[in-house]
């Protein structure tokens, strides 16, 4: 029975805001069309938390800072002093995503077969993944989630949820829910597909400028994140590796470089990763349209006229401290992903007519109309982080400096044989059985990620794992720097800091990183505050 009455005009020439649909009786979602509407509702809610995803992920971190124009409420978030009345703290918007996912999951009939396949299975999978991802966000913001899987549709059962503040418990629960939906090895992720209504095909692809698959989150990604956060490094590495394999992700080209005479910059290629969606970089994103419903404020919050957020001194230092290698002996300073891709400067006058140089974030003006949730570089970085902790620091370092491919991995100067000995399927970039595999050929062109902004890093002899120390920690520090160089301002940073702090069992790690962006006078207060893990989280509005 199709009980959800659908009276909407589609795909109208009008923005449609037709009547409400009563949820009476046992309505099922059992057509692609019903699922499409429900899924669009969820994706639209995802749009509404996009800005918050970035603000909570970056403003609390060490790479983004406030300016003189920043409203007090955002300063409070920056200072970890926000109270529950802060209007940026909007847990309800996150739970709205969860409740709508719950509703779709509870009502969808996955047994429906269209053109020989159970297409609604993919809607189920997509909703479960978005739900888990949202719980993960909530956990990282509040340190606690109200967990429930049945839709709340009645005011009397509003409290039918369990509070989970223990991450093991939460990740156990989420993993149990997702495991059966993770595609098998080597199998591509499938997403809700095209819908045909009144003989007009309505693809997700026709919505805005995004390929359908990019609007959803790969299940493997969320599962990988959960494993990584728990410290299940092998399982985590396996998930990220699966994504690389099935999406054919490689790290080639798209670098920012000096021209051949080192007098000027070459045409910046790295920002293209954010503008050219045909490149195999952006895997999952929150997309926005240009016409009516742009809830996405990041571009205007970071531009020079509103200028609410700016890069922190730490972020700038990260780029400027890097060495741009021209040859083994000659080098320039600076990673070109900074000024040529992530931030820039503008001048303004202060009260006494002095010209002041300000730095501002340019990443969002380049990105345009989406927020990246996961992209190729991030997957590789996560993978490297996992295998490093799994006991393969040289392999992880190879990813930074040389590139993960057969020839580099077979080079024992780069990777000692013992790191590759156990032949885990997920460390195979062609050096084992994949020589003839097409994707192994693909990996062959992988280069070191740092070369995206630092010239030919392989020539940089001082960039190497120091001997006699804790290689894993050193490599992890390098990876954290690489996260900052490559993915700054994209919303991941505070989560990264929390994860590493937890893995090192050292809250001071995060505290010190974050405190560094503050003026000296404020640093010790921040350090003290953040050394207590409960201050990492925001208070939930009652």
């Amino acid at each position: 029975m199709v009980l959800i009455c659908l009276t909407m005009l589609l795909p109208g020439c009008f923005q449609d805001e037709t009547q409400s649909i009563l949820l009476e009786g046992n309505q099922r979602i059992n057509t692609e069309r019903d699922a499409f509407y429900a899924m669009n509702g969820i994706l639209q809610q995802l749009q509404q938390i996009g800005d918050n995803y970035v603000i909570f992920g970056e403003l609390r971190g060490d790479l983004m800072d406030v300016t003189t124009k920043t409203p007090q409420e955002l300063r409070d978030i920056n200072d970890f002093q926000a109270d529950s009345s802060n209007t940026y703290i909007i847990p309800k918007k996150y739970y709205a995503i969860i409740n709508n996912c719950n509703n779709l999951i509870a009502k969808i009939d996955t047994a429906v077969v269209t053109n020989g396949s159970k297409t609604l299975m993919y809607d189920m999978k997509a909703a479960k993944t978005i739900r888990a991802w949202t719980y993960l966000q909530l956990y990282q913001i509040f340190g606690n989630v109200h967990y429930y899987t049945q839709p709340i549709l009645n005011v009397t059962n509003q409290k039918n949820y369990t509070d989970i503040s223990d991450f093991t418990q939460l990740s156990d629960t989420l993993l149990a829910d997702l495991k059966s939906w993770v595609p098998g090895d080597g199998i591509l992720e499938q997403y809700p597909d095209a819908v045909v209504i009144n003989n007009v095909p309505i693809f997700y692809t026709s919505i805005g400028s995004f390929v359908e698959s990019k609007l959803f989150i790969p299940t493997r990604f969320v599962v990988g994140e959960l494993y990584l956060m728990r410290g299940n490094y092998a399982q985590a590495a396996n998930m990220y590796y699966q994504i690389m394999r099935t999406y054919s992700l490689t790290l080639i080209n798209n670098k920012n470089a000096w021209n051949s005479t080192y007098t000027a910059y070459d045409t910046p290629n790295w920002p293209k990763l954010f503008t050219d969606l045909t490149l195999n970089e952006q895997i999952s994103l929150i997309g926005y349209s240009n016409e009516y419903t742009s809830y996405f404020l990041m571009p205007s919050l970071t531009n020079t006229s509103n200028y609410v957020f700016c890069p922190s001194s730490t972020a700038i230092k990260n780029w400027e401290e890097q060495t741009y290698s021209i040859s083994a002996v000659a080098s320039l300073s600076g990673d070109l992903r900074g000024k040529e891709g992530s931030y820039s400067t503008f001048t303004s006058r202060n009260d006494v007519n002095d010209l002041v140089t300000n730095t501002y974030i340019t990443k969002y003006s380049k990105i345009g109309n989406f927020i990246p949730i996961c992209r190729a570089s991030l997957i590789y970085l996560r993978y490297a982080e996992a295998i490093n902790r799994y006991g393969k620091p040289n392999m992880a370092f190879t990813f930074l400096k040389y590139g993960l491919n057969k020839s580099n991995l077979e080079n024992t100067f780069y990777v000692p044989a013992k790191e590759l000995k156990n032949k885990d399927a997920f460390i195979d970039f062609g050096q084992n059985k994949l020589t003839t595999d097409a994707s192994a050929i693909l990996f062959a062109s992988n280069t070191g990620i740092r070369s995206r902004g630092c010239g030919d890093v392989t020539l940089n002899n001082s960039f190497k794992i120091p001997t006699g120390g804790d290689s894993i920690t050193w490599v992890e520090d390098q990876l954290m720097t690489e996260y900052a160089l490559e993915t700054a301002f994209e919303g991941n940073r505070f989560g990264d800091l929390m994860r590493i702090s937890n893995h090192r069992n050292n809250p001071a790690y995060l505290a010190a990183k974050v405190a560094a962006k503050f003026p000296t006078a404020q640093q010790s207060a921040i350090l003290t505050r953040l050394s207590d893990k409960k201050n990492w989280y925001l208070p939930e509005k009652k």
């Binding site: 795909p11 009008f14 918007k93 409740n99 709508n100 419903t293 809830y295 509005k541």
Partner: protein
């Protein structure tokens, strides 16, 4: 359903059995008579042919010398005496066998009972009449000065906060849906269902304000019962009515002329961020008279003169009544037309009505009403829209500019409309000339009411009502002259620029109504009079609407919705709601002295949840139960009152009962998904409401007592009422649990109370043969108090203001900052707060100080910082007293009516003034800003001009709260009945009237009678809607 019907049927059968049993027990006894003389109270001459009636069975006519003798059922009978030209009066025999009576001329009729006054009136919509006639009974606040736009009406305070608080309207026994939630696409325009009835078609209006619960869950806000005119006799009566008149241009808030404005400009620009170079480049500040564009930017245009002019009003009506023994009919047809005072606006209405009463044999008759009305309006946006409301634009637009293009070629003004000006203000002349704001309202009503007289005391009747109500609106703003507007979404993110707008809306409501009832009336043993009704009422509504909007038509000739428009929006809905009610009322009186009544109503509505706190269940359905009882004692009929002859009538009344409000939203109890837009074109569905089966009606418990007193040979008439209403289960918002992902939901948890009194005094001041003067004054007072709110106190922001809803306070309180004046000097500003001065905290955390010329806001908490913590109650929009003073004079064939209305003790938030005195931009301002602070030491009440108002001098404070008390000479009307006897006609009356002649008030705005819309929280807010202006009419009425 079947089960329920059985249940109801068995109740009916039971009642019938009871009735017939009692009937069988009725018995006869001795006959008694009363006799006397009936005279004219003014001339003392006997009245011939006056009709004396005792109960329903006995009546008599007076003889030539005014004597009568009538049989009466009991010693203490009540006599009703009527005679053409005289007031119908009630007399108590007080046990006497002889009773001499005096009748008063119909000049002395109480305004609310004056049926004649509904004809030959200036009023286009009933509310105008109710305000003057029912002064204390209904608080009537005009919506705006637009002809026929109606008024907001409240009976006995506010019995709701968030549900509807307007009285129920019942026309010829049929409940009218008031369409409270239907909004016009034209700003400042209202959908007024009462405009569908021509006032001249109204025979009588009755207001139910007591505790009677017969209207159950629809009656909490009181009931207005309207009866339309019916044929009364078989003789054919033809009436022709014509009226014409002029509506004067309204009085507007005066704004600065060119030279005043220019000096203001220089002043405000000093604090602006514009560089001197860009200021010098502003064309209207370049003062070289030889410049080619000098004349374009150096004018002294009075924009008020350009957009307003005198309007007109006409009405032509024909009514025919007549019939024969089988059928009597009343037919009427009327046209009302008006040109509005805002240029380009007009209104026209066509009414037709055919009412008939047909006798189908001895015991069965059928009454039918058929009516069709079409109301057409051409309007423009009204209120405070700076882009498209010509009225408001005429206040803020710089006088330096011209409405028509100036050409440098011939150095002359052309006839081409100018575009929007360099200050980004629209050209109102273009909006008037090329804009469209048409509203068409149609209503077709057909009622049939068969009535079967089963026996002498029992009747069965049933009203079938069917109506179609249609609204069609089309709105267009021209590209030429309209200032572009940035469109923002609900997240305040801009998504486009609108150069003009097209909007269309169509709505249709279909209502089916049935009210079937048994009526019973019987007297037992002469002294026991019992009457009662038992009925079943059913109302079903089907509502459908479509809305379309688009922008940027590209030109002024593409005025309709089309696919080429940008930023399109489409909305629509279908809603269905039903309600049914079983009701009963029983009346008993003993000896025509002691009266008792009891009424009960049991209501079900599709809006009620299935697990409500109150009410009971029949099957799956929840029924609300509303009981009420009342008693009256006609003290003056007691034999012991015989000697107190100066008391003609003393009646004491008391009642207590419960009523309800079912206007709680059609689907609020259900979980539902609402559509959203995803990526421009795709539709998404999201959960937007949770099921709440506990949602129910609001319950208002009413208690009241009253006294009716007539003294000194009926010269003094006093009526007084006190009441107390307690509303519980108030519809209020509660926060959802965070995990639900939704904001809030409706619950029945709050409560409020209204206490008050109403008094009216009637004096027959003069009663001579030629001159008669009837004087009536009324006053009403209510005190509203919120007694419980589930989620605590809250404020609602309304047009820059803030309304407080708090336990212990009345509804609608103004909540803001308190101004203590203007700092005349820097030293004075520094001196406050222990020499630290006052500051505000800016958004980015820094501080700014108040200085000379800024407003001194009270620092309530004494922390030196003016912020939200310093807000306090700064005004109360609830009046202390409202009412009317009505004088009816007659001199021979002349009658003169003089009506005052008043309101005392209410505050108004003058939102318009807050904009016209903000001095924060380059737009024109009211002349009040001429007194602005300019130099150190200057003592004034108006702060300095300050571009952008960074310190917030214009914030919501008591600067904008004013005393809204007023006394209006609402209506003066003189009519003259020509003393001509003619074969051509029976009577010819000519009349002239002035409406809204004078207003005595301290209020600075254009009209102290103002409210932003019909919701309780928006009362007392002057949103700058078109003020009422003076209307002069002359008319003629011809009876053929």
């Amino acid at each position: 359903m079947m089960k329920k019907m059985k249940y109801i049927t068995s109740i009916l059968v039971l009642l019938l059995l009871v009735v017939f049993r009692i009937n069988a027990g009725a018995q006869s006894s001795d006959t008694i008579f009363v006799s006397g003389t009936i005279k004219d109270a003014a001339t003392n001459k006997p009245i011939n042919g006056a009709r004396v009636q005792a109960g329903i069975f006995y009546s008599a006519l007076t003889t030539e010398n005014g004597t009568y003798k009538i049989r009466i059922p009991v010693r203490n009978a009540l006599l009703e005496v009527s005679s053409p030209g005289y007031l119908t009066q009630l007399f108590s025999t007080k046990g006497s066998k002889t009773l001499d009576l005096a009748l008063y001329s119909e000049t002395f009729v109480l305004p609310k009972n004056n049926a004649n006054g509904y004809t030959s009136t200036q009023s286009v919509t009933l509310e105008d009449e109710l305000q003057t006639r029912f002064g204390a009974d209904i608080r009537v606040v005009k919506r705006s000065g637009q002809v026929g736009i109606g008024s907001n009406m409240f009976i006995r305070g506010y019995n709701s906060l968030n549900a509807n608080s307007k009285p129920l309207i019942v026309v010829d026994g049929v409940i009218w849906d008031d369409q409270a939630n239907v909004n016009s696409v034209i700003e400042g325009c209202f959908i007024n269902p009462l405009a569908d009835i021509d006032v001249n078609d109204i025979e009588s209006v009755e207001v139910l304000k007591n505790a009677n619960s017969i209207y159950g869950s629809k009656g909490a806000n009181g009931v207005i019962l309207i009866k339309t005119i019916r044929g009364r006799s078989q003789a054919t009566k033809i009436t022709f009515d014509a009226m014409t008149g002029v509506i004067l241009k309204p009085t507007l808030t005066p704004v600065m002329n060119a030279s005043q404005y220019r000096s203001y400009l220089t002043d405000v620009l000093k604090s602006s961020p514009f560089s001197q170079t860009s200021i010098n480049a502003m064309p209207f500040l370049q003062d070289d008279p030889t410049s080619l564009t000098y004349k374009k930017y150096h004018n002294d245009t009075d924009w008020g003169d350009q957009v307003y002019s005198n309007g007109s009003m006409n009405r032509y009506a024909l009514s025919v009544q007549g019939g024969d023994e089988i059928a009597i009919y009343g037919f009427s047809m009327a046209y009302t037309g008006s040109n509005g005072v805002l240029n380009g606006t007009n209104m026209s209405r066509l009414n037709t009505r055919f009412n008939s009463d047909i006798n189908l044999g001895k015991s069965v008759k059928v009454a039918t009403n058929i009516a069709f009305t079409e109301v057409d309006r051409e309007l423009r946006d009204d209120g405070m829209d700076a882009t498209s409301a010509p009225g408001y634009i005429s206040r803020i637009k710089s006088p330096l500019f011209l409405g028509y293009k100036y050409t440098t070629v011939t150095q002359a003004v052309t006839d081409k409309l100018e575009n929007y000006d360099s200050l980004h203000v629209s050209n109102p002349l273009s909006i008037i000339a090329n804009g469209i704001g048409s509203q068409r309202q149609y209503r077709f009503t057909i009622n049939a009411e068969p009535e079967w007289t089963i026996n002498k005391s029992l009747k069965l009747s049933s009203i079938f009502g069917y109506s179609i109500n249609k609204l069609k609106e089309h709105y267009f703003t021209p590209v030429t002259g309209l200032a572009p507007v940035i469109l923002v979404n609900s997240f305040n993110t801009p998504y486009g620029i609108s150069y003009n707008t097209v909007k269309d809306q169509i709505m249709q409501q279909l209502s089916v109504f049935n009210d079937t009832k048994f009526s019973y009336d019987q007297t037992f043993g002469k002294k026991h009079h019992v009457s009662g009704i038992l009925g079943l009422r059913f109302l079903s509504n089907r509502f459908a609407s479509t809305y379309g909007e688009g922008h940027n038509s590209g030109g002024d000739y593409v005025v309709n919705l089309s696919t080429s428009l940008l930023y399109k929006k489409n909305d629509g809905g279908n809603e269905v709601w039903d309600s049914k009610s079983v009701y009963a009322q029983a009346n008993y009186d003993f000896n025509q002295r002691y009266f008792l009544w009891a009424a009960v109503s049991m209501d079900n509505s599709s809006r009620f949840g299935k697990e409500t706190k109150e009410g009971f269940k029949i099957g799956q359905d929840t029924y609300a139960k509303f009981p009420s009882v009342g008693a009256a004692w006609l003290v003056s009929a007691e034999p012991f009152m015989k000697n107190l002859s100066f008391i003609n009538k003393l009646n004491l009344r008391a009642d207590v009962g419960e009523t309800g409000n079912d206007n709680i939203g059609n689907n609020q109890r259900l979980a539902y998904l609402s559509p959203v837009n995803y990526m421009d074109k795709a539709v998404g569905l999201q959960i937007s409401n949770l099921k709440n089966e506990a949602l129910q009606w609001e319950t208002t418990q009413k208690m009241g007592a009253g006294i009716d007193l007539t003294l000194f040979n009926e010269i003094v008439t006093i009526s007084g009422d006190i009441y107390k209403h307690n509303t519980r289960n108030l519809l209020t918002m509660r926060q959802n649990v965070v995990a639900s992902g939704l904001d809030s939901y409706w619950v029945n948890e709050g409560s409020l109370e209204n206490t008050g009194y109403e008094i009216s005094l009637g004096l027959k001041l003069l009663n001579t043969k030629n001159v008669k003067w009837n004087f009536n004054v009324s006053a009403a007072h209510y005190e509203n108090k919120i007694t419980a709110l589930p989620a605590g106190d809250y404020t609602t922001s309304v047009g820059g203001g803030e309304i407080l809803t708090a336990v212990g306070s009345p509804a609608g309180m103004f909540y803001g900052y308190k101004s203590l004046g203007v700092f005349s000097s820097a030293a004075e500003a520094q001196a406050v707060s222990n020499g630290n001065g006052l500051k505000i905290q800016n958004l980015n955390g820094s501080y700014s100080s108040f200085s000379a010329g800024d407003i001194h806001f009270e620092d309530k908490n004494g922390d030196g910082i003016i912020d939200a913590n310093d807000k306090q109650i700064i005004g109360n929009p609830n009046p202390k007293l409202t009412g009317a003073v009505v004088n009816n004079l007659s001199f021979r064939n002349f009658t003169l009516d003089i009506v005052f209305t008043y309101s005392y003790g209410n505050d108004i938030y003058n939102y318009q003034r807050s904009q016209l005195e903000s001095m924060s931009n380059l737009l024109n301002q009211s002349t009040a800003v001429l007194n602005r602070w300019m130099a150190d030491g200057q003592v004034t009440s108006v702060p300095k001009a300050s571009y952008g108002d960074p310190i917030g001098n214009a914030r919501f404070s008591n600067r904008w709260i004013e005393d809204g008390s007023f006394l209006k000479l609402q209506n003066v009307r003189l009519s003259y009945k020509l003393p001509i006897k003619s074969n051509l006609f029976d009577a010819l009356t000519v009349w002239g009237a002035v409406n809204n002649l004078l207003t005595f008030t301290k209020y600075l705005g254009a009209d102290p009678e103002s409210s932003m819309n019909q919701s309780v929280l928006y009362q007392g807010i002057d949103f700058g809607l078109l003020p009422s202006s003076r209307v002069f009419n002359v008319g003629v009425k011809l009876n053929l």
